[in-house]
Symmetry: C2
Subunit: 336 residues, 2 copies
């Protein structure tokens, strides 16, 4: 019998978080949540890849300064991003003298890192998790350089320029990670890189079904259920897939990619995507609301699409993955 949902006996707290975004993210409906932004998206660096690294560096610095900690107070650093060989993380976090665990979970990295930080909180007293995406770095890698001006279909999502950083410790106060469920990779059958939401929806459905079945709960047992970046198309597919399993997602379900932009005013097609999408909404919106007790009981499901430009050119379908965290308010520990 395979290990599924893991309940943390001493649920660690996500005791500090920070997010920094680009211009479009700051201009969106959640713009106020960012700790800082750069309207030029360059973050004072000469290449988009270096801009993304700088974004990670600044975001971790911000989380540490919010907590009043130095890098030497952090025992382990989990990080990853979307670009080739995760150089956004490798170069961005090079200045920090902290044992480094590189991850690749595409847009699921925030939940993957936080799950590992939580599961290892008995061995590493203080962990940091950082992830990012940058529109210009990701688009030229996975699709076309922005300067090419390619036309995007209605299902296309806009890679978010943002990073999220989190500090996790069982000894601190704050919103708790009470349960985690690691996802299984899933062949979506989708080959269209302009329809990432559809490619990840089956993985999100698999993880949520397993979670509700194992915990004997329903979506109505939670104040809020967030997926990381399915966008409008993917989240609508997720609702349909869960409905076939007799699980009804209500008004309490929202996708971070749908929330982060004003799709009409900002012309964002199916919404936001990228590691930085879910991560910044979690860091800047969900965790602060959990801290204040406005939310008590949240499921955060970060979804990732595990293809490369090469695998897509070779005609392979996009594998999806979704990792889940059950977060509870600082004001009400442990239960549902």
């Amino acid at each position: 019998m395979q290990q599924g949902v893991i309940t943390l006996q001493t649920p660690p707290a996500v005791f500090a978080s920070a997010c920094i975004g680009g211009g479009k993210e700051h201009a969106g409906p959640l713009g106020e949540m960012f700790d800082a932004f750069d309207a030029t998206d360059t973050f004072d660096k000469p290449t988009w890849e270096q801009s993304e690294s700088e974004l990670q560096r600044r975001t971790l610095c911000k989380a540490l300064s919010k907590a009043g900690l130095a890098e030497t107070d952090v025992d382990i650093l989990f990080a990853g991003d979307l670009i080739n060989q995760c150089t956004g993380s490798a170069y961005g976090l090079l200045d920090f003298d902290i044992p480094f665990v590189g991850l690749y979970g595409a847009c699921s990295t925030s939940a993957e890192g936080l799950a590992l930080a939580a599961l290892l909180s008995d061995k590493f007293p203080c962990a940091a998790v950082v992830t990012s995406s940058h529109n210009c770095a990701a688009e030229r890698q996975f699709r076309f350089p922005i300067e090419y001006g390619g036309q995007r279909p209605p299902t296309a999502q806009w890679t978010v320029t943002a990073a999220g950083a989190f500090l996790v410790s069982a000894a601190q106060r704050g919103p708790r990670i009470t349960e985690v469920l690691l996802g299984r990779s899933d062949d979506s059958g989708i080959t269209d890189v302009n329809n990432m939401g559809a490619a990840m929806a089956t993985a999100a459905a698999d993880t949520l079904c397993r979670f509700f079945r194992e915990t004997k709960t329903t979506p109505q047992d939670y104040d809020h259920i967030a997926t990381g970046d399915l966008g409008a198309e993917g989240s609508s597919i997720l609702r349909e897939l869960l409905a076939t399993e007799h699980i009804t997602l209500g008004e309490n379900y929202q996708d971070c990619g749908v929330r982060i932009y004003d799709r009409e005013r900002q012309d964002m097609h199916a919404g936001g995507s990228g590691c930085g999408c879910g991560a910044s909404v979690l860091a800047g919106d969900l965790l602060p609301r959990l801290s204040r007790g406005e939310l008590k009981n949240v499921l955060y499901v970060a979804t990732g699409a595990l293809m490369s430009a090469t695998s897509v050119q070779q005609g392979l379908a996009i594998p999806g993955i979704a990792h889940l965290l059950h977060l509870t308010s600082a004001c009400k520990q442990g239960g549902r």
Copy 2:
């Protein structure tokens, strides 16, 4: 005070391992250690990237069959590789219905995955770790397609076509992981992708110095010390760097990249490199010798170079990282 070397209270066993290689690897001095090989390096697939995926799939199947286990007996799967977005792992392991944690540690992935599997062995009773590299997939991604026939300088290493798979459990018998030390990323200052050994040597030196200092041991306390893929150039730099810290690596130190090929007969310049280099030597040579009691006390340090082709083209230096495992014989548990 940062958490450094972690001693596992219940040291888990690496109770099964497997390795599969390509033609050049089978023709090398350690050729007999491979469970299987394909002299064509294609593994019956139409592209090199798909060949690498197939290599991972077959190697995990082999490890499971050696242990007499099914995929449903495995609770968590750690995997990663060198190619863009780790598609070797994502596609190769898609058939396995096991919760999937994607890693990016370049050639340090074997030790990174085994360290996480060991540290989480109280939460996941059985973990699998898989990693690979493929010469043709890696060379066309990081340097030039093989067909181009570019000339290689003497410091260049040959990316190994091989995969290693490992099964870890605290409830099983076999060589134990008694201590782990996760590495810090390190700016080597090296910008030459044909001198990866030099780029990773500083990280290996940092990790080994920290380990010897914290555990108050010397290289002479171990039967064998292995680095993953520094090659001739990098391992010679490592010896020099440690000598400046008054640490002398003796005859018991060998680099897996130096051992895997006959450098003269096979014209392999500075030796082998790649995730599959250290992983296959660990799976096919070191662990079996630990199982038989021929080795009792081993340090395995897998080194990774965290650059991408893009970061190198942009003139950035190559960051290095090195994760360490202390392994003890099945016949002599726990101590040095």
